[in-house]
């Protein structure tokens, strides 16, 4: 809530998380949509499947997020027509970054986490700020609950310092089911203390076989 008469954004809350594995990627987001201290709906998906191995989860201002997702989906269709194949996750990562920076001086109020499989079939997660700065990581959280979740993920998943030798992979050695369990646990924790996170958790798992979707109940208060 802002005193400015020309404030065109609002924060609809919610949290998004993604974890990359050796041959899978887990992308999850809660389904609560809020404004101020009210809940608009308990059943709103923040996740968009952009390509068969590429899934975007965004939290922030839903108006901008819807427009951003539509924009990217249309660009992916154009890419399909031109290249005769679907966009890879790293390609979409760059496209998302460029799309966000294009509006550097009137940004999309969207905090994004892009997850999927790269061209070699390994899990990848890309995390963004609102104007397109991005990085490929092994895991990330964005949104209102991110400050509660990220330290836990760091504790569980972070590999030792990159300065150590031998070099170790950023992707977690966890199995797919262990990663999904971790996601459920961190969301349950975030739901306890973040008022904007709760209701239901939507988990999307991408692996060689395709994409699977799962819904878990969270606390509704």
């Amino acid at each position: 809530m802002s005193r400015r008469g020309d404030w065109v954004y609002e924060n609809n809350g919610g949290t998004c998380v993604a974890i990359a594995g050796a041959d899978y990627c887990v992308v999850a987001a809660d389904t609560r949509l809020s404004v101020g201290y009210s809940i608009l709906t308990r059943d709103h998906s923040k996740i968009c499947e952009l390509a068969d191995k590429c899934v975007l989860a965004s939290s922030g201002f839903q108006g901008d997020i819807k427009a951003l997702h539509k924009n990217l989906a249309a660009r992916e269709l154009l890419y399909q027509h031109q290249h005769n194949k679907r966009m890879s996750c790293p390609a979409m990562a760059q496209l998302l970054s460029n799309t966000l920076y294009y509006k550097r001086f009137f940004p999309y109020y969207a905090f994004n986490v892009l997850g999927g499989l790269d061209s070699e079939g390994k899990g990848c997660v890309f995390t963004y700020d609102a104007v397109g700065s991005y990085e490929r990581t092994g895991f990330s959280a964005q949104g209102t609950g991110s400050t509660l979740i990220m330290p836990v993920l760091d504790n569980q998943l972070k590999s030792p310092s990159p300065l150590l030798l031998p070099a170790r992979d950023a992707v977690t050695p966890l199995s797919e089911s262990e990663a999904v369990d971790l996601v459920k646990d961190v969301f349950a924790s975030a739901t306890e203390r973040d008022i904007y996170t709760g209701d239901k958790l939507e988990i999307v798992v991408i692996n060689k076989a395709g994409t699977k979707r799962e819904y878990i109940d969270l606390r509704k208060d």
């Binding site: 539509k70 249309a74 269709l77 154009l78 027509h81 031109q82 290249h83 005769n84």
Partner: protein, 273 residues
Amino acid sequence: MFRNQYDTDVTTWSPAGRLFQVEYAMEAVKQGSACVGLRSRTHAVLAAANKAASELSSHQRKVFRVADHAGVALAGLTADGRVLSRFLRSECINHAFVYDAPLPVSRLALRLADKAQVCTQRSWKRPYGVGLLVAGLDVSGAHLYYNCPSGNYFEYQAFAIGSRSQAAKTFLERRFEGYNDYTPDQLIKDALSAIKETLQGEKLTSSNCTVAIVGRKDDGTVEPFESIDGNRIQEIIDSMEAAEEAPAAAAAAAESSSMQEEDKGTDAAPMDI
């Protein structure tokens, strides 16, 4: 008699009320290699005879997917066709973005026709030298349109364009009345037969034709616009030939067509379109 005086640019009428440049453009369509389209109530099929510039080169792409629910086959200046396909794709994407619904096929044909008409009324432009068969599926069923360089377009049950298309048209005229109730497989077979008519003696194989289909199955699921795989086309051609010839000769025919060079599998370098 006056043709040569009034045909310099598209903005000059002839005394008989004709625009010769537009008619010359339609001539270019007749020179291109053949395409046929046909439709039933629920499915639309496009087929094209592939022509390679030489034995060394790849075939020209004549069938393009424009959206999940629509595609085009073209005859004439394929470069013009490529550019128009890109335009149609962009129109479909924009419509879906704004209205969250697929662009109805009649509107798609209309956009294309309006674009073609512009080129018949500007002195610094020339008409597009390509005829397009637009096939698609929307809420009102399957549709087939023919767009010509003049900016005219008509809906058809079945049509053929390009060189030696008259042979295909004659074939289709005899059979089109039953098409509304045809199954997709029957449509594909008739499309292949029509293309065969235009080859006039040359053997029909999966390497010298392309077939694409779009439609809605009986249970409501949509089959998006897709080119049919070369192997499957060859199977259909083989079964058609087996059905035609006497059973004794059928074995010999099947054996010879299976020895045909199979290069449909390797897609030509995706031309940047």
